[in-house]
Symmetry: C2
Subunit: 215 residues, 2 copies
């Protein structure tokens, strides 16, 4: 008798992720897995991003344990948005993303944003089939987070330092973040922004357009 | 052939948690499992708490994926502090807490604070053998977090709303938090505080002393 429960789950996850990636690429879609701690500004950043890129060109799959609050906020832009409730699940799985993709029509869509569950640990360990990973770090979370959560920041393709409007009211030493990134991730650009005000949106849009052109 | 891998792990965890709890109670120690998102102010709150309660009466077990930064910050108070590095682990386990306890001498200790990995999902699912759970929510994380992370807030014995000094500079509607708590947790007091300044520390200390008297 052969017991291979974990192996088969891992293989199923890898196959589901590869299948998602093939669907994105075939449709000419850039899929971005957006990850961060809870409350770093993922939804606010995406609201601004959908509006700036053109809502009809974008779709969002948004993961939360419960509620449809983020989907409601994003749906106001006019983009197609599907909420994935994970119950007690601490991250999105590639199978959940596949089920979410089944609810979307990709014709005419150029960007799919996958807003992961707010969590700096578990989502980083799960390939969803995205072509790029965006990681947010908000100023009030503190300047020690890159060193404390390297598994999230190391594979990031772009890092957004959000809520920079709070730099003047909280203690935050940007040099610590830069020094930690110099050790673990030297390929991802760091974009400073304040999504509430729209500050810093332009370099993020430039990055997205270049990433889509490269797929 | 009987396969009971998951069951045996769960049993081992439950036994380890029960054993930790027995050790705490036998020593007259109140153990508090402190949980929140990354950057909510757990370490700053504990720095103030150790100093106020008397560093020699307190010990801390602090969980992080990597680094000893939190242990270094807490050790300055003079309390006994042990860092538990979880590697890729998204929460502390009762076995890790037992190993941490082995590094401490509980004689003369009245309070053991277990600072969990910054994560609003996974730590909530794991009993470490604590007698009380304290959950922090920081103002800049947003007023929607109680509804979005009910598995964390529902079993909390006390909830601390931290960084209230930022209420004047970020959008945060306290009424939403109170309405969500009224649905899922009506037994835990909500203590508003700003650990950086020490505001709100007194009711937290009162709660801790009453909780210790009740074990």
């Amino acid at each position: 008798m052969k017991i291979q429960v974990v192996e088969s789950v891992l293989k199923a996850d890898a196959a589901a992720a590869a299948n998602n990636r093939a669907r994105f690429t075939a449709a000419g879609v850039l899929a971005v897995n957006v990850m961060s701690a809870p409350g770093s500004g993922k939804t606010t950043l995406l609201q601004q991003t959908l509006t700036a890129l053109g809502p009809a060109r974008c779709a969002v799959l948004v993961g939360d344990l419960q509620t449809t609050r983020d989907a409601e906020r994003l749906g106001i832009t006019g983009s197609a948005v599907t909420q994935i409730n994970t119950g007690r699940g601490c991250h999105l799985s590639p199978a959940q993303v596949a089920a979410g993709l089944d609810t979307l029509t990709l014709a005419g869509i150029e960007y799919v944003f996958i807003e992961n569950v707010g969590n700096m640990v578990c989502p980083a360990a799960h390939d969803l089939g995205e072509q790029r990973r965006a990681v947010l770090l908000s100023v009030p979370e503190g300047d020690d987070k890159v060193a404390k959560y390297p598994t999230l920041f190391q594979p990031a393709d772009v890092i957004l330092l959000t809520k920079t409007d709070l730099l003047s009211v909280v203690e935050f030493n940007r040099a610590i973040v830069l020094a930690d990134l110099a050790r673990i991730n030297t390929h991802a650009p760091l974009i400073e922004c304040a999504p509430k005000s729209g500050a810093g949106l332009a370099p993020w849009l430039t990055w997205l357009r270049a990433a889509r052109a490269a797929i």
